[in-house]
């Protein structure tokens, strides 16, 4: 399968994707799957095509597209951003709420067959199909969208110098995010063999290279390398000027940002495959404890923290997981209103928010510690029941919370089409769930022990053994397990999230001297200062605004 192992220094992207066609923009040609398509869907397509060709594009859409194209070609970032974030969404709500936008063929004459613009248009077109069109993408559309991404990345990566294209950061992030999402969606679609017709399976079987995990990894790695982003981040973290090492491509904002977002893309992709070490490893040059140029796209920031936190949780680094989740949840709490008028983004953030609160709840049950007051109060309000059930060793609750909050794991390989099982698509999830639940089961006694320890400053082993209804011998084992599981690797310094030292910062700690347990209960007083300081600043701002409006009104 590794037909492309002999890649020379400047990888041959087109060849790699196996997308047919020779030239730089030829990926879309020669679809050998067309011939073997099913009868019915093809008729549907035929019908749609006729419908499309006779479909008259409304004037307002035409004008929008022409203006959009002009802004892209003028590299007018402000207008491009406006078209992307407002224009397109508004017209979608008005004309194409649950139906696709006009096909690229139909709008090609309107934009003078502008190849690059058509690729960008199709990026939006397919993304809209995935997100809004009820029947979802057809197999053909999945393939077409894949080819379109190939064309886009070929154009960007195969150029001799930086391409004359400037896109808003949000869009660049969305491209990487969507590329991985569609890969994930395809992998899941492919794994569910039971509902497919023979023809569909045949198409899948004969096109193993489309949405192949190697191709996706290759794109992300290539963008990382082309932009020199790792060197840039390294220099940036040490206080130097990234431009001194960025090179011709890396200086260009398009490449730099795509490189950075690809690192986050790799974090996500590795997490989906259950490789948490590699997931955190790709971030080793990013300094999260320092505000950086790249943190201005909120959805990217949220995705990053979600996957970093999840990886930490799986690695039993609860203290780091808690810190990561609490940080981003506080950030969401403070900035959420900003996204209220962007429905899709707002929904996505809300969903991630709930998932991360659920994981924070899990981590705090396993590793109780004090966190930011406002995050804590929301947690108490919404998740107290769940936490209580988990504290009482309810494994089903752990399972439910994990299933709700975890990423959509996937298998990097196609199923065995000859030996179909109904459960293949669930296997990756079941594996991660199993690992997580086995870990929880190992420490399930700890909350009970802790609840007893809290009541004493010293406690003979014999007495606690009697409370727990176990032998003294068994209790000693459990006490050692308590200490072992509560000693987490904790990040202390440097940019790598993988580094750390062993610490135990759990609220209740103890040691055993002969036959006596000595207990230390760390009480952290509530913090009010932060809250008041924030409120005072807010108040100041309101007064200032009021004064300004009063002046303006005069």
């Amino acid at each position: 399968m590794w037909a492309n192992a002999e890649m020379d220094a400047d990888y041959d992207y087109v060849g790699y994707y196996g997308g047919g066609g020779g030239g730089g923009s030829g990926g879309g040609g020669g679809h050998d799957y067309d011939g073997s398509h099913t009868g019915d869907p093809r008729q549907d397509m035929e019908y749609e095509r006729q419908f499309q060709s006779s479909y008259i594009v409304p004037e307002v859409i035409k004008n929008f597209l022409v203006f959009f194209q002009k802004s892209v070609n003028d590299q007018n970032l402000f207008e491009v951003q406006n078209c992307y974030e407002n224009g397109f969404n508004k017209l979608t709500d008005r004309f194409f709420k649950n139906t696709p936008w006009p096909e690229a063929d139909v709008i090609a004459p309107i934009v003078g067959n502008d190849g690059i613009f058509l690729i960008l248009y199709k990026e939006l077109y397919y993304r809209h199909v995935y997100a809004r069109v009820q029947s979802g993408p057809s197999l053909e559309q999945r393939f077409e969208s894949y080819y379109n991404y190939c064309n886009l990345f070929n154009y960007i990566l195969n150029a001799d110098g930086p391409v004359p294209l400037e896109l808003p950061n949000q869009w660049l992030w969305d491209i990487i995010d969507e590329f991985i999402y569609q890969f994930q969606s395809f992998s899941q679609y492919r794994s569910k063999v039971s509902k497919k017709s023979e023809d569909e399976i045949e198409v899948l079987r004969t096109n193993p290279k489309i949405w192949n995990v190697h191709s996706v990894l290759n794109v992300l790695h290539s963008l990382v390398e082309k932009s020199n982003i790792n060197r840039q981040l390294e220099i940036y973290a040490s206080g130097g000027d990234p431009d001194s090492v960025s090179g011709e491509f890396g200086q260009n904002s398009l490449y730099k940002m795509l490189g950075y977002f690809s690192l986050i893309g790799l974090l996500r992709l590795h997490s989906l495959l259950g490789d948490y070490y590699q997931a955190l490893k790709v971030l080793e040059n990013i300094d999260f404890h320092k505000k950086n140029l790249y943190s201005r796209v909120p959805s990217c920031q949220i995705t990053t923290f979600y996957y970093v936190g999840f990886a930490y949780m799986m690695m039993r680094r609860y203290q780091d997981a808690i810190r990561t989740f609490a940080n981003i949840l506080l950030y969401i709490q403070r900035t959420k209103q900003m996204f209220q008028n962007r429905a899709q983004l707002y929904d996505q953030i809300t969903k991630n928010n709930d998932k991360m609160y659920t994981m924070l709840a899990i981590c705090l049950v396993l590793h109780p510690m004090r966190i930011d007051e406002s995050v804590h109060s929301h947690l108490r309000e919404k998740y107290a029941d769940k936490q209580l059930r988990m504290q009482k060793c309810d494994m089903a609750e752990f399972e439910q919370c994990f299933s709700f909050a975890c990423p959509k794991f996937l298998s990097p390989v196609p199923p065995n089409f000859d030996m179909m099982t109904d459960t293949f698509h669930k296997e990756p999830f079941k594996l991660q769930l199993r690992v997580f639940l086995e870990e929880v089961a190992q420490q399930i006694q700890i909350p009970t022990i802790r609840s007893y320890l809290k009541l004493y400053t010293t406690l003979p082993i014999a007495k606690l053994a009697a409370f727990m209804e176990v032998t003294e011998e068994a209790l000693r084992t459990q006490l050692m397990c308590f200490k072992h599981k509560m000693k987490n690797l904790v990040w202390t310094k440097g940019t790598s999230c993988l580094e750390g030292e062993f610490q135990s910062a759990s609220e209740v700690d103890f040691y055993v001297d002969g036959n006596m347990i000595h207990i230390a209960d760390t009480k952290v007083a509530r913090r009010y200062g932060d809250f008041f300081i924030r409120q005072i600043h807010k108040f100041e701002e309101i007064t200032r605004n009021l004064q300004q409006t009063a002046v303006a009104a005069k």
Partner: protein
Amino acid sequence: MAEAMRGTVASLLRGIDRYNPENLPTLERYVQMQAAENTYDIEANLAVLKLYQFNPGYFQTEIASLILLKALTNLPHTDFILCKCLIDTNRLNELPVSKILELSELLETCDFERFWAETRDDPDLISSIVGFEDSIRKFICHVVAATFQSIEMEKLQQVLGHVTPMVAAQWVNKYGWTTQSNGMIFVSNQEESIKTKNITEKITFDSVAAIMSSSR
């Protein structure tokens, strides 16, 4: 040998080439070297498991078992979990992998007595890993050091795998623990580090200075 390979292997794992199955034979040989020479390279081992994940046809139970056992030698780090997350459920249920999972469970729950009993019953399982038992004893000493201020000598011998007083004394020396007159082993003065704390809020002058100046 294994140390000399470390650099070569690291260069194999750079960039996209990490997913090239043609590197598998080299990487698998490297795993065997680690087992024979008591060295350890988690990153290379995870790369092998990832290649198995991408190319299930290449899976070798023997190599996967070595990797899992090596991961146990790196306790208290959670390398074993990282490995487990990359191996198919079916494979995890097969012998000898399932057996190694049981060993891991016993170590993670600090049930050391049963762990030693299991390894005595099936000595072949761990014999391929040079220095396996001492690596585990190191982990056990780590747990003992975290839990106890003082512990009976007999108890210590037990958790270290029913070792002779001589051997136990060597471990006591190694960690600078001392034997007391009453036969107890004094591990460390935990009172110093584990004590009841009341952490109250401290507000720095800097954080208030801004408010003070703006509300003048």
